[in-house]
């Protein structure tokens, strides 16, 4: 008579002696896949006629790019032995690979349809991105080329921004949970420390397997919940993940995401220069108008006032006019020294340069008044037209 322990030990030793069971490749369908908190994975492999319990230890499981899904066809390698406490024959799997992507794509389509029905991908949910983001959260792997691509692009286009990296694994079993945690971390930071204006979620190109974390329902929901707008840049042009669908803006690549997220510094330099030019033009126009006013005033004073008063007013006019001219001239000079790059634009304010471009200044011959409107002249008036290299006297008819 044997004890149960002896019986099971005997069976186990028979199995363990069989070299064929020490190096097994088998294909089957996965069911009841569970990953315990310890990291060990338990599942069943089956075909229409039979099934076998399987174990995959944490170390081997950590090499998986993603967890298999129930119903997926896989190819497994490992050895077969007996788990004594339950007298059970088990397949100890050390390598697992998909034997076809059909089931995976099917599961993806199902999840997509389900989340879409809940409105997660609808256009109405998309939020506008801030015009000039001051703080940009980046969720990606700190070791990946994607991060360098993003930082290089941001540094070149919009170095005014400050980047907050929330690191996360972007492939493998822990990637979904880490991406969720990173998005949540940035949202906490935004609420508790300083506002974060947008989040770039990125990963370089890869197979559907490698991008699988971006199709994880937990990730999709965390992105939908984020109070901060999301720009996704996952994979290459042709890769479309559920994370892309739920993001407020989808870019084809990490570099593309950084490009869409911020304005271009060069364009801003041009915009500032345009404002500066408009300010100068408006101020010059205002100054010309004042001189004309003062000129008229002086004329009427000369007619109506004692000489001394006229002199007083004339002095005021001169002082004001000189002050204004000095201020303008000094400003223009400073601008020119400071902004070599913009020198050409400022140069276009110079009347000589304007004339060189084909414009003319028209003055009345009698009083030198500048003619800016047809209302200022009448037939018979004589005019002086200044061009780039000389003047033409003419008459209105």
């Amino acid at each position: 008579m044997l004890t149960i322990a002896q019986l099971v030990r005997h069976i186990k030793s028979l199995l363990d002696q069989d070299s064929a069971l020490r190096n097994v490749w088998a294909e089957g369908e996965v069911s009841n896949f569970k990953r315990a908190n310890s990291g060990h994975c338990y599942f069943t492999l089956k075909d229409p006629e039979a099934s076998i319990s399987c174990v995959m230890w944490r170390n081997e499981a950590s090499a998986l790019t993603r967890l298999p899904i129930d119903g997926e066809q896989v190819l497994a390698h490992g050895y077969v032995s007996v788990y004594a406490p339950q007298g059970r024959v088990q397949f100890y799997v050390d390598h697992l690979e998909p034997a076809g992507l059909g089931r995976l794509y099917q599961a993806l389509e199902e999840l997509k349809a389900r989340l879409s029905a809940q409105g997660l991908f609808s256009q109405e949910r998309k939020r506008p991105l801030p015009r000039w983001p001051a703080r940009i959260g980046v969720v990606t792997s700190p070791k990946a080329a994607a991060l360098q691509d993003i930082l290089r692009t941001l540094a070149a286009r919009y170095p005014l921004a400050s980047v907050l990296l929330a690191p996360a694994a972007v492939q493998g079993l822990d990637a979904p949970a880490q991406i969720v945690a990173a998005v949540q971390l940035l949202n906490r930071w935004s609420q508790e420390v300083e506002p974060v204006d947008l989040i770039i979620l990125a990963r370089g190109g890869g197979s559907i397997e490698e991008l699988w974390a971006f199709n994880d329902e937990r990730v999709v929901r965390a992105l939908a919940m984020s109070a901060i707008p999301i720009v996704s840049g996952v994979g290459h042009e042709t890769d479309f993940t559920l994370a892309d669908l739920v993001a407020d803006l989808r870019a084809p690549t990490p570099t593309g995401a950084a490009t869409l997220a911020v304005p271009d510094r060069q364009e801003l330099v041009v915009q500032v220069a345009a404002q500066r030019r408009r300010a100068t033009t408006a101020a010059l126009a205002r100054l010309v108008a004042s001189r004309q006013d003062l000129g008229r005033l002086e004329g009427s004073l000369r007619r109506e006032s004692p000489r001394s008063q006229v002199a007083g007013h004339r002095q005021q006019v001169d002082e004001l006019s000189q002050f204004a001219t000095r201020a303008m001239a000094q400003r223009l000079r400073m601008d020119r020294t400071r902004l070599d790059g913009l020198g050409a634009r400022l140069q276009s304010l110079n009347p000589a340069a304007v004339l060189a471009r084909g414009y003319a200044i028209v003055r009345k011959l009698d009083d030198d008044e500048i003619v800016t409107s047809v209302g200022q002249v009448a037939p018979g008036d004589r005019l002086r037209v200044s061009l780039r290299d000389g003047e033409i006297n003419s008459q209105v008819f």
């Binding site: 360098q148 930082l151 907050l164 408006a282 205002r286 400003r331």
Partner: protein, 85 residues
Amino acid sequence: MDELEDMTFEQAFEALELTVQRLEAGDLPLAEALAAFERGTRLAALCDRYLSEAELRVRELAADDSGDLASIPLDSWQMEAGDDR
């Protein structure tokens, strides 16, 4: 004038746009117009300084075990560039 020192690029640019609009309206007294021009020029210079001198700042965020938030500057990100390419 010291108010300018505290402005972000965005604030300075928006103030510049406003100043230019006031100037272009053309109805300011001369002294005010010149003051507006002066201010506009300072704002434009501030914007240019931001655009030419800014350097991207990168920090890495972390939450410790008790959930406290912290950030560490990543000054060396540029040195690491290219390793993975």
